[in-house]
Structures are given as structure tokens and as C-alpha cells.
Amino acid sequence: MSVDLEHYLIVSGLLFSIGLYVTLAKQSFIGVLIGIEMMFNAVNLSFISFARFVESGDPISGHVFVVFTITVSAAEAATALALAVLLYRVKGTVEVERMDLLKW
């Protein structure tokens, strides 16, 4: 019994779908952000497992790509959380269902 690429990809797929559910279903803006971070992590896991197992001339590229996704997700988290604080200041809530300025 050994651990193969498929095992890691299944963990990654499960984590991605849980993150997708959290992103779509949660009421709180911060809950939505938590789901997005989980999806980022699932993608990073599949990059790292492909870099480890799959035939490639330059396997370290997968790791470099993960460094960039971590950078982008950090930038995204900082900006989105600033937006959450700002939305709370303006509307007094962070529930996504009450962000309905474009609805009439």
C-alpha cells in the first residue's frame, strides 16, 4: 500500500468543493473569504503533488507557481478584508444578502 498522485488529487478535490460550498452558501462576507482561501489551498496542493509525481523536464516550476499563488492570495486577502471593514462602516453589516444596492 502506497500513497499516489490520485490520493493527493482526491484530497485536493474534496477541499476545493468544500471551499466552493462555503464561498457560495455562507452569509458573512468573511465566511466567503474563508471559502476562497480554502479553494486557493486546494489548488496549491494539486500543483505541489503534480510537481512531485508527474513526468516533467522542470518539476520545480510547480513550486514556483505556488509561490506566486500564495503571493496573489495574500494580496487578495488584504484587499478583501479592508473592503469588509469598509462595508461594515458604510452599511453596518457584513452579510452578503444585504449588499443589494444594485437591486431595485
Binding site: S2, V3, D4, L5, E6, H7, Y8, L9, I10, V11, S12, G13, L14, L15, F16, S17, I18, G19, L20, Y21, V22, L24, A25, K26, Q27, S28, I30, G31, L33, I34, E37, M38, N41, L45, I48, R52, F53, V54, I60, S61, H63, V64, V66, F68, I70, T71, V72, A74, A75, A77, A78, T79, L81, A82, A84, V85, Y88, T93, V94, E95
Partner: protein, 169 residues
């Protein structure tokens, strides 16, 4: 990759990661959800170690477990009242159906595809190879990423800055 220890470590870490992710879904208080998220990130860092990705594992610990979770907690305590609620909205059932569908398709694709599995051992160490690649082959994306981070930091400071005082009219 056939040592028993690695297999046991994989299963323990995978159960920890997925179980904590389910805890994020189930937690009613959003601070508990963030604590479950940290446990999930820690399990993922362990999975990176079993994949011989030492640098990425440490970066995961520093950035996700350290920085992003603290940032989430800061955002939670800066938006008080009623916002500790972590319950689902009216999109609950469509989201559940879509997530199950996407998960099933991804797992089917992962199991059914014939991957070109390489016959090599794990990396000896990755930090110096990543550093070489970042400053050689990927130098331009590296610089763009640093500009992106700078813009994001300045942007979030501008967004949450208190309203400027009315200066002399």
C-alpha cells in the same frame, strides 16, 4: 514513497485537513470557523512535507497559518455585532448541489486519467532551486508580484483609513 510512516502520515494529515474543512462548514460562530481553518492549513503544511516540498510547507505555515488567519481575525473583531454568525444563506441547497457536482467531476477526472507518472524520488531540498528559478527564469513575474503586493498594501491602507479631517475651507 512506500515507507509505512509516510502512508500513515498522509492519512492522518488528509483526515485532519478535510475534517477541519468540514468543521469550517459546521461551525456556527465565525471565530470557531477561523480556528478550524487554521487546523486545515496546518494539515496542508504537513501534506506538503510528505510531498518533499519543504520551502512551500514553511511558506504555508508563515503566510496562511500566521498572517492570513490573523488578518481574518482582525477583520472579524473590527466588524462587531451580529457578525459572529456563520450560518448559510438562501443559496444553501444550490451551493450544496454545485459543490457535490464539482467535487465528483474532479475526483472522477483524477482517478480516471492516465497520469504520466515520473519514476523519481522526492526533491532533496527545494529552497535553493526555487530561489534560482525566481531570479533567473521567472524574474519578471517575481518583480510583478512584488509590485502587486505593494499596490495591495497601499490599497488596503487607503480603504480603511479614517475619513480625512475637513481642512481649512
Amino acid at each position: 514513497m512506500d515507507e509505512t510512516g509516510v502512508v500513515i502520515a498522509f492519512w492522518v494529515l488528509a483526515i485532519m485537513t478535510i475534517g477541519s474543512a468540514l468543521g469550517v462548514v459546521g461551525a456556527r460562530n465565525i471565530i470557531h470557523a477561523v480556528v478550524f481553518l487554521v487546523a486545515s492549513f496546518l494539515g496542508l503544511a504537513g501534506l506538503y512535507v510528505t510531498l518533499s516540498a519543504d520551502f512551500i510547507a514553511v511558506a504555508q505555515m508563515l503566510i496562511y497559518v500566521g498572517a492570513i488567519s490573523i488578518l481574518l481575525l482582525f477583520a472579524i473583531v473590527l466588524t462587531p455585532q451580529e457578525n459572529r454568525n456563520n450560518s448559510e444563506g438562501f443559496l444553501r441547497l444550490p451551493a450544496l448541489a454545485l459543490a457535490l457536482l464539482v467535487g465528483a467531476v474532479m475526483i472522477f477526472a483524477a482517478v480516471d486519467t492516465e497520469w504520466a507518472i515520473a519514476d523519481r524520488d522526492g526533491f532533496e531540498e527545494t529552497a535553493s532551486a526555487i530561489g534560482d528559478a525566481l531570479l533567473d527564469k521567472y524574474a519578471l513575474p517575481f518583480e510583478i508580484a512584488s509590485v502587486l503586493l505593494l499596490v495591495a498594501v497601499i490599497g488596503s491602507i487607503v480603504l480603511v483609513r479614517p475619513e480625512p479631517m475637513e481642512e481649512d475651507e
